[in-house]
Amino acid sequence: MSLTESIARLRGPRLPRADGLIPWIVPAAIVLIWQVACATGFVPARVLPAPSDVALAGWKLLLSGELARNIWVSFWRASAGLLVGGGIGFAFGLANGLSQLSSKLTDTTLQMVRNIPHLALIPLVILWFGIDESAKLFLVALGVFFPIYLNTLHGIRTVDPQLIEMGRIYGMSDPELFRRVIFPGALPSIFVGLRFALGIMWLTLIVAEAIAASSGLGYMAMQAREFMQIDVVVLSILIYALLGKLADSASRALERLTLSWHPAFQKH
């Protein structure tokens, strides 16, 4: 038994399909306790509405079409920002990982920019773009740029030099070496970057929408606060949690699909 196999086995046997419900036991229990606490009056409704009230508020918003519209707007902003910022970050990561010149030219600058919290730019962004779509897109793109850039760069830099030497010995051209050795070698690290980026993506969007927007989930929550609709506020927080989980599951599925060679992703 190789070391990698032993490590994979330490993580326990793969759960059968019926046991796929196990991760949801804790969230379900929390909702249940929450409901009971509200129903008995232990928690006053103006502090925290009962889950049933939140569900009811969700149902009303769903019927009016407001909920779907706001989710769609936020989802669109998130994915467009991720695509633009992630794309640019990936391109810089590739360029700086593969070319010494490019790295010398841009890495120092990027590291300086990286240390500015991107949310600190919100006042500036509002002055530049107002509160229209480009402001949110800019902030999300800036937020996801760095985790993807850094992890792509790190992934490429840490590809096993012995494998690269092997590729050269066996006569691989530069594009072939990239396609067959460097890119697959960097992929696990790129996925780490993607998952970090997904977290930052939601965070940035919530803040940006709460401060400067006229639609979207963040806006919906801020509106609800104005009218003291605490159930809608809680609802939007829960939706963020669900969307975050969804994004993470999607990236995990993509990981499992492309990294099936990796011992950590193999079926037992």
Binding site: S2, E5, Q162, Y170, R180, P263
Partner: protein, 278 residues
Amino acid sequence: MQEALHFGLPDAEAVGRVDYIEQARRLRRASSASSHGLPLTIRALRKSFGDNEVLRGIDLHVPAGQFVAIVGRSGCGKSTLLRLIAGLESIDAGTVSFGGETQPEDIRVMFQEPRLLPWARVISNVEVGLGRDRASVGASARAEKALIEVGLRDKRVEWPAALSGGQKQRVALARALVSDPRVLAFDEPLGALDALTRISMQRLLERVWGEQAFTAILVTHDVSEAVTLADRILVIEDGRIAHDVTVDIRRPRERGSADLAALEGSILRHLLNTADSP
């Protein structure tokens, strides 16, 4: 766990056919066509890394198809010599020639680490060895043939992570063999394997060398391995060839036999004497 119980099996056939290698060699010598291997000629070869002169003038001629082992203490320059022969390092002075034009596919190297692509199936890893012919129509058939040669045909769609150390090294051997090389350089290829896997790998190496008749250059720190496998043993000391020993023992050689042990002892004495002297 299962692996450990029958890991020697693919090579058991080699033990059965005791005279196989000798026969193959006789056939090869008898055929009028020149041997498949290439002769290797090295003249006044020098190599330094910074101020450290690693090779200080190597002169060597290896006839086509010979199995040469290079032994020496660590840091003596044996691995550098192999890397220069394989064209992995630039030459400071002197020449390395193979008696004519060579294609990159003619000279292959096998390292101590298997260096398999973890994200490619076993068969694709072997196809890498075809060099420029990788994309050709018969590529997968040739790769499969090489896998049969090393006894791993049933592993062709496995990921490398699912193989044992010895199996990985056999895939690396198949990758080196698939382009039908004329010179095969081994840099401690069995150094990371356990003792039993090592012996079965040595038998495999000897068998494929007997069948395919390439010129083999084996760098090793294991004198008994050198004595078992090689036609000729070069002892390198301080960047020069200190001893050039012909191993005139009939194949297949029996491990632990008296004449092998005697030869091993005398080479070890050479190495130890220089180690003790100031």
